[in-house]
Symmetry: C2
Subunit: 284 residues, 2 copies
Amino acid sequence: MKTFKSIKSLRKYILSLKKEGDSIGFVPTMGFLHAGHIELIKKCVSENDISVVSIYVNPKQFGEGEDFSDYPRDINRDMEILENERVDILFYPENSEMYPEKQLALVDVRGLSDVLCGKRRPGHFMGVATVVLKLFNIVNPDMAYFGQKDAQQLVIIKKMVKDLNVSVRIKSIPIIRDDNGLALSSRNSYLSNNEKIIATQLSKALFKAKSMIENDNILDPLKIIDFIQERLKKTGGINIDYVEIRRLTDLSESGIIDRKDCIVAVAIYIGKVRLIDNFILGEI
Amino acid sequence: MKTFKSIKSLRKYILSLKKEGDSIGFVPTMGFLHAGHIELIKKCVSENDISVVSIYVNPKQFGEGEDFSDYPRDINRDMEILENERVDILFYPENSEMYPEKQLALVDVRGLSDVLCGKRRPGHFMGVATVVLKLFNIVNPDMAYFGQKDAQQLVIIKKMVKDLNVSVRIKSIPIIRDDNGLALSSRNSYLSNNEKIIATQLSKALFKAKSMIENDNILDPLKIIDFIQERLKKTGGINIDYVEIRRLTDLSESGIIDRKDCIVAVAIYIGKVRLIDNFILGEI
């Protein structure tokens, strides 16, 4: 695996590969890789001539008081994983390389960025869209891979790519869970063992809600939301940020659940740790 | 010259040229070409293997009550000019091709977009930055050419390219003027003969101000601004929008004129017609 910290030399190398006709696949990450990332990476490696992974904890997508400085990092372990997965290129830039001067140009995907997680985290998705577009422009990939756990991010990136005519195909993979159903996240490392047990209630509530929609044909979003909220409230130690049901295509609300275009999304706090989870009905 | 209305077929054609190693130069325009555009086009043709010109009157950069529907258009004359200049490719899309669905992703170059012309035209530069980024992503040029008459636009595009790591080099050409000194603009076609005579006072005031800075060493911006304002006020039929002196690099204001980093910019109304002009000291 080749590791680049410089945009210029990465660009030069990728250009030389493209000239030989190689297709480029790209997985942008913030590192501290888990089995969810590895699924993305495996798909990327298998579908492209050259696979590029970036590890960059982007300060611009963390708000004030959020966990930027505490965000878990382990570059040596990450590099070992990437070598094992036969990734070709790691892009691992410093902040001074990504933001050499005050970043004035920002990408705002309006309407999609201020709901769900965007409500609690103002500016977060602008930071995400901006850095992802920067990374796309640096890596120039044919395909890029994102996890469905960050479903809102995925919807926003797909819309950005479409609206700004970026020539990259976005692919996604379903949420990867541990044996207890907890959606994998780098932030799970913040949780104590006891908190991890509490956290399993989140996916349990979602699985049950999914069955209510799919098997029991309950299509009133309020009934499903109520069920999830009650279930989570009964569990000690969980503070609910939101439980929402929206259309997958444009994140708009609907009076009735469309089982071919729907996301049920939840964000909770356990102590100071914010966790998100969701399920999707339909194509993303 | 090949004319494309479809993004997909343009992309395919340009990709085939790039594979053969051709360099791509690009001049984005709103059409109704004048000698200023032609200078840009000549430079583009001479410096690149393949030259692409786009003609697209972008509705998203016109505000309410502005002249979108009246904006002058003459595609047949424009195409003749492009053929004469041996342009290789014309991109001439419909609105439905550029904005097939509601555009949610917008590029905002903060701090540079809400001063000077941006103050009078809220959202204008967001519309400009967004459509230029779209066009860059569609055409994928090595070089792109812009006129210094729209100096603020030039500063914003350059910053966007840097901040978003777009791999295109931006080149500019100085303002082209008619025999009376009036800066060429498609909007000059709105002026009556009498208004054109009035309009020449704008460049005359700017030329004199330039001499005051360069030859008389007057570096107090207020003195220069005062001079220009007085001179324009004396001319009947001119309403001043703004007269401002700013640093060229970041459009910030300065207590003293830096003769290596300065733009003196003016916007006026003659009747309903808005005209802009400027001079630049330093590199852009």
